[in-house]
Subunit: 212 residues, 2 copies
């Protein structure tokens, strides 16, 4: 059966996104320095050949173990789940060929018809909550896995449902001082985790935790 | 000159201590499960031969790279600085031969004569603030380094003074869901860090960050 996993970048102080990184200030990356902070969080990924190709950022990029990790992670995904805020931000940022190439289930209160993008990405807007979104994702992922893409509040919901089997974190050596924390609002007891794998790199420490 | 460093255990969700771990509930480790949580945070250390010997926990223990790391870290310390809460808790927990074997500067508002323990540990109670404590620590550390031992609020004060040169974190694969966070109340811009070294272990991921 498909596994449910999270794969995100995290600042050393535990933030998924810096303060000021909201739709309202999307065109002002200098606002509270959010653009520079986001760049420092994602630097490890943005210089990888695979991501550069997928996001149409241009040729070149690294092709070592971190690139292999990105490729393997992307290739295992059969469906994505995300929150409305993440979708709204992505709608302003993704290339026309949105970088998912799977069904994407967007948790929202708004009704909207499925939005089909070139390259195999279709966004489905789900009003019936996270469990229903997961059910639909399982139906469309086939033998591949389901990625809870974010943001923080959506990941928290799935952690609290007890369905997250793997938590992959790229811990970047940056301090944001504020923003959206990943680990908040968690129900007790939380998942029991063990360290499955660590990949060292100067730009981030990649740790995979699996539910034990 | 002596370096100023931090070396701590941290839960994956960023806590140095679980909720309920206060002097008031010191003899009730079952209170909010703090004893079990603390044990899971420090499991990596408590099974090392060097720490078992230093804390008089009994013979045996691991003697691999994590044990070497603990030994090297301890041997580089010429003086410790800690907060009053950490001291108060330690006063209830340390063996008579307190496990520091250096001068320890305790930040407090209370006046108290230096407290000399067998084995070379002397606690000095400093009312004049963190900068004065650091000055005194530099005076007594000789060529060795100065460890900011904790708790979270004291580490935050030294991070905000901009004097912390190395930040060593043993990131344990546990979620506390609440407690004392390390990374809060940080002034911007915080220190610029780079990853200096990662040591993998099933019980914790040991990452050293140095100011760049």
């Amino acid at each position: 059966m498909s596994k449910v996993f999270v794969n995100i970048g995290l600042s050393l102080d535990g933030y998924m996104a810096p303060e000021g990184m909201t739709l309202e200030h999307w065109s002002e990356p200098e606002y509270k320095g959010w653009g520079a902070k986001w760049g420092s969080l994602m630097a490890w990924a943005l210089k990888q050949q695979y991501l550069r190709e997928n996001l149409k950022l241009g040729p070149g990029g690294e092709t070592g173990p971190v690139n292999d990790l990105l490729r393997r992670t992307t290739e295992r995904i059969g469906a994505n789940i995300m929150g409305k805020r993440m979708f709204d931000q992505g709608e302003h940022s993704w290339p026309e060929e949105a970088p998912f190439h799977t069904a994407v289930y967007v948790l929202t209160h708004e009704r909207r018809e499925p939005w089909v993008r070139p390259g195999g990405t279709t966004f489905h807007f789900i009003q019936e909550g996270p469990e229903r979104a997961l059910e639909l994702a399982r139906g469309s992922a086939g033998p591949r896995d389901i990625r809870i893409a974010g943001g923080a509040d959506v990941i928290q919901q799935y952690l609290n449902l007890g369905v997250v089997e793997e938590l992959e974190i790229a811990l970047a050596p940056v301090l944001f001082g504020g923003g959206r924390r990943l680990f908040e609002n968690l129900r007790e007891p939380g998942p029991q985790l063990r360290i499955d794998r660590v990949l060292e790199n100067p730009a981030a420490t990649h740790v995979r935790y699996v539910r034990s």
